[in-house]
Amino acid sequence: MPSNPRTIIQKVWDNHIVAEREGAPALLFIDLHLVHEVTSPQAFSGLRQRGVKVRRPDLTFATVDHSTPTTPRNLPILDPIAATQVAQMETNAQEFGIPYFGFQNRDQGIVHVIGPENGLTQPGMTVVCGDSHTATHGAFGALAFGIGTSEVEMVLATQCLLQKKSKSYEVRVDGTLKNGVTAKDIILALCAKIGIGGGTGCVFEFTGSAIRALSMEERMTVCNMSIEAGARAGLIAPDEKTYEYLNGRRFAPKGEKWDEAVAYWKTLPTDEGATYDHSIAIDADTLEPMITFGTNPGMGMAINGAVPDPADIADPLERESLRKALVYMALEAGKPLAGQKIDVVFIGSCTNSRISDLRAAAGVLKGRKVNSGVRVMVVPGSQEIKRQAEAEGLHEVFRAAGAEWREAGCSMCIAMNGDQLSPGQYSVSTSNRNFEGRQGKGGRTFLASPLTAAASAVMGVVTDVRTLA
């Protein structure tokens, strides 16, 4: 046992301190800066005003995903404002010499999908992006967090960020998930347990046998929604699965450099005896498929549960929040959510758009038909995932069932690209946020796993996948 045992969070932090002095935030070096079209244009304008170049284009990577339509790529971007934004990303990437997967690039995709997919995301890195779901990259043992546009400009200009150290928060998940319970249900259960602000000021480290048992893609799903429990970052120590996933990917180290990198990565896991500022334990054996009923991701419950009653809540502000949420959702307290009629199913987003998610959904839809009252959109996280799914014939399964098979992008998770709910519509979505209007003004979102989403698509109502005949 080392004399000064440290968590992985502390180790990654310590390894990136450029300068530190009393009374000021630390200057932290950034190993990977991911850039997308929505939160970067004003930062590039700032660089131009300053007459400054991008300091480390070799540690920067850009793509378009948020305002990018998921319609066939031979069609133009119809929304002129979105088209301007996408074109501006292209201009900025060219002018500042940043590598870029553009709208027509065969490897374009959601920024948090293409990073890992191409081996850009590696253990022990500091990763930032002007997007709160940057926590996704924590699945590799990287300290990865979302930043605002002023900070995007700072990192472009200096490759550094002024940061105060967050507290550490261990989320220990031991046990075995039951059939029909997924990585998404782990993170939705955490959100429900500690609430949307429960991790504010903290970085999660997910530990325990149930976390170790997850694939890399499942780990990304868990880390992705750390921000939905208030934590700016969430990470998982790297292990053999991490190395196996990374080995051979486009930007991963090769040859001798690979061996050196793995030797370094093996020093990262939390030392025995290291302590955390906060901790919580979740028993994987008792978890059920989860679904949200309200207007933030903390308002979730087991799918076979009943919508909670504001009258049962003692705190007046919380009671009022729940009452308002149920009014917006037009749900009745005390009633089960299973059986609630839905209009749309969205399978996609940086949370659940990877090949394993698509396979899970296709497994449910194979040989079945989507309910006639439901629109189902399946949106792969990247064009590479799209090709892989097509090679496996998953697109045929989706189409035969009556679902739409679309191009890569954020799509209906953020509803700024043409994909959106109409006012009053209900959707079961595999994305990460159920805020009012998140998926379109007046739209009502139930967050759930790809299995729950696919089962609900078949039945036309909120459905526990384990009840499908």
Binding site: Q42, D79, Q88, G146, I147, S150, I196, R232
Partner: protein, 199 residues
């Protein structure tokens, strides 16, 4: 940095940045002109006309510099468009019992003060506003004291560096650029495992 103002209340917990400014307004490549889009979906009817009963559509709110909201204000997305919209509407401070991490950072970089008060003070101010909706609060960043007529003088916390930046108008990027020697020294010894320009 000190100011006096009436108080605009939006009393809900967990006000997320999708409410502060919906994502569809993020297609802009500019950071100006966002004040009219602040709380858009709560503020306007389906036809785009202002809802007369929504607080931000009142003349009093338009002249106010202080927004008073519930716990965990600014949760959700990292969009800096949220503090841009709040400051362009005219707010200089938001009072709450807590703020989401990224929102807090973004606010300080835009001279929007995230003013954290205890639950007790939050309740006292609510009570005072119930008794007198027109009361004014005064906020002083130098002394870190905030008060209202008939109310207590409340000390509020603000990170020392953030305070210095607010008061001196420090350009944080310029400040980091002054560390060029340290950045270069760090780069010289770091073991990099990535080159995005090679493939």
């Amino acid at each position: 940095m000190q100011f006096e103002s009436t108080v605009t209340q939006i009393q809900a917990d967990n006000i997320d940045t999708d409410q502060i400014i919906p994502a569809r307004f993020l297609k802009t490549i500019s950071k100006v002109g966002l004040g009219d889009q602040l709380f858009f979906d709560w503020r306007y009817d389906a036809d785009g006309s202002p809802k007369p009963d929504f607080i931000l559509n009142t003349d009093k709110a338009k002249a106010s510099k202080v927004l008073f909201a519930g716990d965990n204000f600014g949760c959700g997305s990292s969009r800096e468009h949220a503090p841009w919209a709040l400051t362009q509407y005219g707010f200089q401070a938001v009072i709450s019992t807590s703020f989401a991490d990224i929102f807090k950072q973004n606010s300080l970089k835009n001279r929007l003060l995230p003013l954290v008060v205890s639950r007790d003070v939050h309740q006292q101010l609510r009570n005072a506003l119930t008794a007198n909706p027109d009361l004014t609060v005064s906020v002083n960043v130098e002394t870190q004291i905030f008060t209202w007529s008939g109310g207590p003088a409340v000390d509020f916390a603000i990170d020392g560096f953030a305070k210095h930046c607010l008061l001196a108008g420090v350009d944080e990027i310029g400040y980091v650029q002054q560390h060029e020697a340290q950045i270069a020294a760090y780069e010289a010894q770091r073991i990099g495992t990535l080159n995005t320009l090679a493939s």
